[in-house]
C-alpha cells in the first residue's frame, strides 16, 4: 500500500484566553492512493482541525501546528513555503466543507468560482477554464449546466451548491480530496445522492478521499478504512468491516449504540428502546489529560486507565486500538 498522504504525530494547538487548546494531540494516519479513509468522532474531537492542518489553513493569529509531520507524495508540508502551499491547495489536495449554503462566494457566478481554480492551477485560458467548469458541472449531474455557469449561488439549492463545491474541488484532478462533513447540512435523500456521487467520481478519477464525519452510517456506506478520534487523539483504526464487526474501543462502542436503528422492532406498546447516549462530556482540552482521555466516561475504566495513557496496539490484522481493557471489552460483547 503506497501512502499518498502520511500524517505523523500531528499536534495542532490554539491559544485562547483560557490557555492552550490541544485540538490535535499526536495523531498519525496514512491515506493510500485512491482509498477512502473515514475520520470519525463527535464535535470538538479534532477532526476538522486535522483536515485544516493538512492544508495549512489554521488561522495563524490563533493556531499553529506545534509539531509533527505531514507528507504528501513524500514532500513535507509543514515546512513548505506559503507560495508552494498555495500551488498545492485546490490543485493536488482540495477540500469541501460542511456548509454548502455559505461556502460559495455570493457575489461571483458559479462558473467564475470553478474556472478561477482551473486558471490558477492549470494555467489555461479563461475560455478553456469555463469549458472545464461546464464539464465539471455536467459531471456532478447538474442539469442545464451551461446555463448554471452564469448563475449565482443563491439561485441554487443546498444540494446543488454542494455539487458545485465538489465540481470545484475536483476541477484540477486532485490526488486527495478532504471532505469535512460534506453532507451534514443536507437532508437525508440529498445526503445519499451526494455520497454516491463522491464515491462514483472517486472510482472515475482515482482521487483519494478523506471523509470527515460524525455519522457512522456515512462511514459504513462509503469508506474503506476508519480512524476514530477522541479528544484530539486517535483511539481506534481499522478496516471498515472489522470496525463494525468488532469495535474494540469503548468509545467506538458507545458511538455505535447511539446510532438510531430502524431494524429494531417496536414492542406491543409501540415504543422502541431508547438510544443510549455516552454519559458525561468531552474533556476540556486546555488542561493536560492524564491517562486515557475517555476514562471518565468509560464503564471499563480502571485505576491504570486514569493514571497512564494507553498506547495504540495492534489487536490483530492491523486493527489498532488504544485501550488497556481490550480483553474486558471483548468479553463484554
Amino acid at each position: 500500500m503506497s501512502a499518498i498522504l502520511e500524517v505523523r504525530d500531528l499536534h495542532t494547538q490554539f491559544s485562547t484566553l483560557d490557555g492552550i487548546v490541544r485540538a490535535v494531540d499526536g495523531v498519525s494516519f496514512d491515506v493510500a492512493r485512491g482509498e477512502t479513509l473515514g475520520i470519525v468522532g463527535e464535535s470538538g474531537c479534532g477532526k476538522s482541525v486535522t483536515a485544516m492542518s493538512i492544508l495549512r489553513l489554521i488561522p495563524p493569529e490563533t493556531g499553529r501546528i506545534a509539531s509533527g509531520s505531514i507528507k504528501f507524495e513524500g514532500e513535507e508540508l509543514t515546512t513548505l513555503s506559503d507560495e508552494a502551499m498555495k500551488r498545492l491547495r485546490g490543485h493536488r489536495i482540495s477540500m469541501i466543507f460542511q456548509e454548502p449554503m455559505t461556502s460559495l462566494n455570493p457575489v461571483l457566478t458559479v462558473g467564475t468560482q470553478i474556472a478561477e481554480n482551473v486558471v490558477r492551477h492549470l494555467g489555461v485560458s479563461w475560455k478553456a477554464a469555463r469549458e472545464r467548469a461546464f464539464e465539471m458541472l455536467d459531471l456532478v449531474r447538474i442539469a442545464d449546466a451551461r446555463r448554471r455557469l452564469d448563475e449565482y449561488p443563491h439561485q441554487l439549492s443546498g444540494g446543488m451548491r454542494q455539487r458545485v463545491m465538489i465540481a470545484m474541488a475536483l476541477s484540477c484532478d486532485p490526488q486527495v480530496l478532504i471532505a469535512d462533513e460534506p453532507t451534514t447540512a443536507l437532508d437525508v435523500t440529498i445526503q445519499a445522492q451526494i455520497l454516491d456521487l463522491m464515491i462514483e467520481l472517486k472510482e472515475k478519477t482515482g482521487t483519494a478521499i478523506v471523509l470527515i464525519t460524525h455519522d457512522l452510517g456515512v462511514v459504513a456506506e462509503t469508506t474503506e478504512r476508519v480512524v476514530v478520534m477522541y479528544a484530539g487523539r486517535k483511539v481506534e483504526q481499522a478496516a471498515v468491516e472489522a470496525l463494525f464487526d468488532e469495535p474494540l474501543h469503548p468509545y467506538t462502542r458507545g458511538l455505535m449504540r447511539a446510532i438510531p436503528r430502524l431494524d429494531v422492532e417496536a414492542d406491543a406498546a409501540g415504543t422502541r428502546p431508547r438510544l443510549q447516549e455516552i454519559p458525561g462530556l468531552v474533556p476540556i482540552l486546555t488542561q493536560p489529560i492524564i491517562g486515557c482521555a475517555f476514562a471518565p466516561r468509560c464503564g471499563f475504566a480502571t485505576d491504570r486507565c486514569r493514571r497512564d495513557a494507553p498506547p495504540l496496539v495492534d489487536a490483530g490484522a492491523g486493527h489498532l486500538v488504544a485501550c488497556w481493557e481490550i480483553d474486558s471489552v471483548r468479553r463484554a460483547a
Binding site: L55, L57, E61, M85, K86, R87, L88, R89, G90, H91, S94, M95, F97, E99, T102, S103, L104, N105, P106, V107, L108, E116, N117, R120, H121, Y152, H154, M165, M168
Partner: protein, 313 residues
Amino acid sequence: MTAYIVRRLFATLPVMAVVALFVFFLLRFAPGDPAAIIAGEDATAEAISAVRAKLGLDRPMVEQFVVWTSQLLRGDMGVSIFSNLPVTRLISQRLEPTVALTLSTLFVAVAMAIPIGVLAAWKARKLVDRLVMGFAVLGFAMPVFVLAYILIYFFAVKWQLLPVQGYQPIKEGLWPFVQSLILPSMALGITYMALIARTTRASMLEVLAQDYMRTANSKGLATNRVLLLHALKNAAVPIVTVIGIGIALLISGVVITETVFNIPGLGRLTVDAVLKRDYPVVQGLILVFAGAKVLVNLIIDISYAFLDPRIRY
C-alpha cells in the same frame, strides 16, 4: 430595473416640493431683511418699505410662495435681489468649479481610502493596521482649513509646485485645471478618506471571517484575487453607502475649501447669498443641493444591484 429608476425619479418630486416649502418659509421667518440691507444703514423706515414694495416682499407670504413656485415649474428660479441676474445663470456659472472639486475630492478620498482599508483589514491588529488607521484618524481629526493652510505652505509657498489659490476652468487647459484642484481636493479629501477607510476595514474584516473566504483560501488563489475580488466585492455595499453619505458631508466641506482656496464655486455663492438674505438665490441653491443629494442616493441604490446579485429591484 428601468421601471424602478422611473419610479424613483417620480418619487423625488414630493421630496423636492417639501424642500421648496421649507426653504421658502424658513428663510422668511429667519431674522434679517434684504430690504434693510439694500436701503443701507442710515435708511429711514419709509425708504426700507419702498424697497420692500419694489421687491414684492410686502405681499402676503403665501402669495409670494405661489408666485415663486409657479415660476419654478416653468424652470425659472427668479432673479437675485442684489445683482438682478437670473438665479439659474448665477448657479450655472458657479457649477463647474464645485462639481470639479467634489468629483476630484471624491476621487482622492476613495483612491486612498480603499487600499488603506483593505490593507488594514488584511493585516488586522498588526503594526501596519495600527499605523494606517492612526494616519486615517489623524486625517479625520484635522480641520479642513488647518490642513489646507499646511498644504498651501509646503506645496505652494515653500516648494512652489502648485498654485496657492484660484481656479482654472477646464477650457483653459487640462493641466492648469488639474493643478488648481490638487491642493483643495487633498485638503478636503483626507477628512473624508478616514471615514471611508474605517468603513472599508470594518466591512472587510466581517467578510474575511466568512465561510466562503475559507473556500477561496482552500483553492490556493493568489492573495490579490482573494482580497480584491472575493472579499472586496462582498464588502462593497457598506463602503458605497458611506461614500454616498460622504457626498452630503462634502457639500458643507466645499464651502470652507472654496473660501480658503479662493475658488468661485457654489459654496461661496451660498455664503454670500445667506449673509445678504438674497432669498431667490438661497432658495435656488438649496433646491440644487437637495436635488443632487437625491440623485446621488438613487445612483448608490442602483449600484447595489451591480455589486450584489442578490439585490434586485
